[in-house]
Assembly symmetry: C2
Homo-oligomer: 241 residues x 2
Amino acid sequence: MSQQRTDSSASPAFPDLPEATVARLPEYLRALHTLAEQGHDTVSSEGLAAAAGVNSAKLRKDLSHLGSYGTRGVGYDVALLITQIEAVLGLSQHRTVALVGIGNLGHALAGYGGFASRGFSVAALFDAERAQVGERIGDLVVRHIDELAEVVAAEGISIGVITTPVHAAQHVADRLVAAGVTSILNFAPCVLAVPPGVDVRKVDLAVEMQILSFHEHRKALTALPVPRPAPNGRAGEAIGT
Amino acid sequence: MSQQRTDSSASPAFPDLPEATVARLPEYLRALHTLAEQGHDTVSSEGLAAAAGVNSAKLRKDLSHLGSYGTRGVGYDVALLITQIEAVLGLSQHRTVALVGIGNLGHALAGYGGFASRGFSVAALFDAERAQVGERIGDLVVRHIDELAEVVAAEGISIGVITTPVHAAQHVADRLVAAGVTSILNFAPCVLAVPPGVDVRKVDLAVEMQILSFHEHRKALTALPVPRPAPNGRAGEAIGT
DNA sequence: TAATGTGAACTAGTTCACAGCT
DNA sequence: AGCTGTGAACTAGTTCACATTA
């Protein structure tokens, strides 16, 4: 998914983490915030792992890549770990987001409160349709896509979110890139072509459902073929750990 | 993410695919539909791989797990491959979805047209707040969560989508499970506890952004530390393939 | 000849299990 | 005593490169 590649000369202060680890850090961060709210100021790898939905060995290995922020016999300092993870993820500087495509989904994301609390603020909304332009959502007004470059520069936008229909997505991506945006979150169900150095992540709801469908289908198939007459206990249904 | 595990006794008609392959099949399917619309009735691994945003070796290996549906020297029959992938994903039977939590995001998903075209239909909407219940969205009316079990049975719901606030998510998951739902797509930023045999997938928009933020941060750090005075060519910016 | 299907080599990610701190 | 941090073993996933087949 990540499309850039850098040479392996990691600065000592900034080791390049395994991609799988990077993908889990936000989850740890979320879990840590929850724990902090609940008043914990220290947590064991076991405890944090449970809160984040992974096993403790994986968690310890992940955190070890950041350096040694735990205390043997005790656990991790919650506040310290939050600070460290936020630093690594680059959340110390508050990041601003531009949303392009103010349809159903765009509206929902524009109004979503969950971003601000997690290091992001939606700083601008864009659409190509005159009908949408000028509409007020929260404390933002939808602007025309032609103003993109200007606003990206003015607001220091660092992430572009595409919530347009498929047919417009590539065009919007091109304009975002031209405006200097180097990170894109794409909700349109299509592959975007972007130059090297630009990162694209894709969220496709139908894909998620189809993956679930596969497992649902498999459960149905594996439950039936061996329809033991249930002499003892319940037959069928996939087996847990 | 998938939480069920089955023994490796795969029926010959239903090999158990690598999880990574399963996660890509929906993308191939989408690409194939696009190609079909454009009038292609055959496509090479190279062509399909490009359309799906992967490399061709990976694509061929993935498809080889399904069986031999290609023709050497020619490529893959688009229509045939669509049929096969849909069969494997269990999309031959149209799946119905229940959406719980009709806030911002729930509204957007309820109104999203992209599901029907990809094998799913939203068959019911639920909320716990009296304020929402009774509201009409598209051709559905929001029902109270207490009707969940009844409707799941009546409509043969196979997937539950949670778009409630965090604090309600676990409770809703419990009720979905109690109602017999064994696949859940969770948009609430928390880990859900579910019994074995129930699959949960999570979509967290803030997590996606934080991953982008990490790479953005890294680009900034790797671009600066070696600020060559640009004797020839542009300095900085992550290097492409 | 052109493109699939696949063993073999390689790379990334996970889990184990325990040494080493506090 | 308890919990982290980590080498080592293992497992999953990717890529290569080519034999095979239409």
